[in-house]
């Protein structure tokens, strides 16, 4: 069976949770208080992730979706379990659509979208055939490189002289209202609630144990990273431009200009966005495939790889005609969707309570 170490889980989780926020930004609705909204979302998101960890601890040896039929019975638990691979497929399609919107409008304007996505999906399909172990090793190698690139970019941004810390103040001048509007529910669902897909790989972690601590560490690191990046973007652009920017983080990299010599570093931003999107899509598709394998009692998951990757490709290609509509759905529809809220927040809490009560009875 494919196994990964705790260190590989940490690397995968950090990259996964930073995900597409590296380009689209996070909590921009809170304006200059976005970094504060991110930190609050991180704390609450950690609590949500601990609910998922508790569910798997209370049901040892089972993957996350197998807990539903076990605790809720086969008639109720099985349809709830089947909702998960459908949700994972949809979210994977959304990330592919992110690539569809970003790459042709930034670094490859003359390349047809279907060609970019086809190559992206073929590589993901190949990675799915190779297994989780390979992705664990890849994440372990890439994370320090991404960290190094990010540190260099921060140094270059500081050297460009574009940062104005006055843009961060006054803090909370418009009150807590807009901060809470961003935290609930989008702030918690994005990155943290979506870690539900990571729950499908926890049974692959060897040696067992300390998954909870690894996930807490990765969540806090990812949240701190996003908060710091948001604060930097606000300090460079000011509140109004940050709120209205389509790709605020991408714009941040474009702002780098050291002595008119080091400029035009946009491609590095797109590069690490592409890798983060690659890993996030991989995890979603892996989680969907593993869920389908468990729910159909299949011996091997390989027969599901091709159909699942084709579905993700079609979803991503056809999802959004432009990035504005795509982002509007994320801001106005997704956070309030009963599917997202139930599967990521409410039903796991009920599952945890039921698992705990049943274990107590035994």
């Amino acid at each position: 069976m494919d196994t990964i170490s705790r260190h590989q889980l940490l690397a995968i989780s950090i990259i996964y949770q930073i995900g597409t926020t590296i380009i689209f930004g996070f909590a921009s609705g809170a304006g200059r208080d976005s970094w504060l909204a991110v930190l609050i979302s991180t704390v609450l998101g950690t609590a949500i992730i601990m609910v998922y960890v508790s569910v798997t601890h209370l049901n040892p040896g089972l993957t996350y979706i197998e807990c539903y039929p076990k605790q809720f019975g086969k008639w109720l638990g099985t349809p709830i379990a089947w909702l998960h691979p459908l949700l994972f497929l949809y979210i994977a399609g959304r990330i592919v659509a992110d690539i569809n919107n970003l790459v042709p409008s930034t670094i490859l304007p003359g390349t047809p979208s279907w060609a970019i996505l086809a190559i992206f999906i073929i590589v993901i399909g190949y990675a799915l055939f190779l297994g989780l172990k390979v992705m664990g090793r890849l994440a372990e190698i890439i994370l320090p490189l991404l960290g190094l690139i990010y540190v260099v970019e921060v140094v270059l941004i500081l050297s460009s002289g574009v940062i104005d810390l006055d843009n961060l103040f006054p803090l909370l001048d418009k009150g807590w209202n807009r901060v809470w509007k961003v935290v609930w529910p989008l702030g918690i669902i994005q990155s943290y609630g979506e870690s539900l897909a990571l729950a499908m790989i926890w049974t692959s972690v060897k040696p067992k144990g300390r998954v909870g601590r690894t996930m807490i560490l990765s969540t806090l690191l990812a949240g701190s990273f996003i908060a710091y990046t948001d604060a930097m973007a606000v300090s460079v652009f000011g509140e109004e431009i940050f709120k209205r920017a389509t790709y605020p983080m991408y714009a941040l990299i474009q702002a780098i200009n050291v002595a008119d010599f080091i400029t035009q570093l946009d491609a590095t931003g797109v590069l690490y966005f592409c890798f983060m999107a690659f890993l996030k899509t991989y995890i979603y598709l892996f989680a969907a495939i593993r869920s389908i394998q468990k729910l159909t009692y299949a011996q091997s998951n390989r027969s599901f790889i091709m159909p699942v990757t084709v579905i993700a490709f079609v979803l991503g290609l056809t999802m959004a005609p432009n990035v504005i509509v795509h982002i509007t759905v994320v801001e106005k529809i997704v956070p309030y969707s009963p599917i997202y809220l139930s599967l990521m927040i409410f039903i796991p809490m009920v599952l945890m309570a039921v698992s705990w009560l049943r274990r107590k009875q035994v």
């Binding site: 039929p69 709830i80 089947w82 459908l86 056809t318 999802m319 529809i333 969707s337």
Partner: protein, 52 residues
């Protein structure tokens, strides 16, 4: 009605946000029949071993 098939498209999600949850629940129930009525592989192989 035919446009509801493409429920994942952003325009559909903005105009009819209720379609996606409904489609998901219906598909999940349909797919559940695979789980309910397909015996686990182990049980099937046990059945065939005992028949031999």
């Amino acid at each position: 009605m035919a446009s509801f098939i493409a429920f994942w498209k952003s325009e559909m999600m903005l105009k009819f946000p209720w379609v996606q949850p409904v489609v998901f629940v219906v598909v999940a129930i349909v797919l559940s029949f695979f789980t309910w009525f397909r015996k686990p592989r182990q049980e099937r192989s046990k059945d065939s071993d005992s028949e031999e």
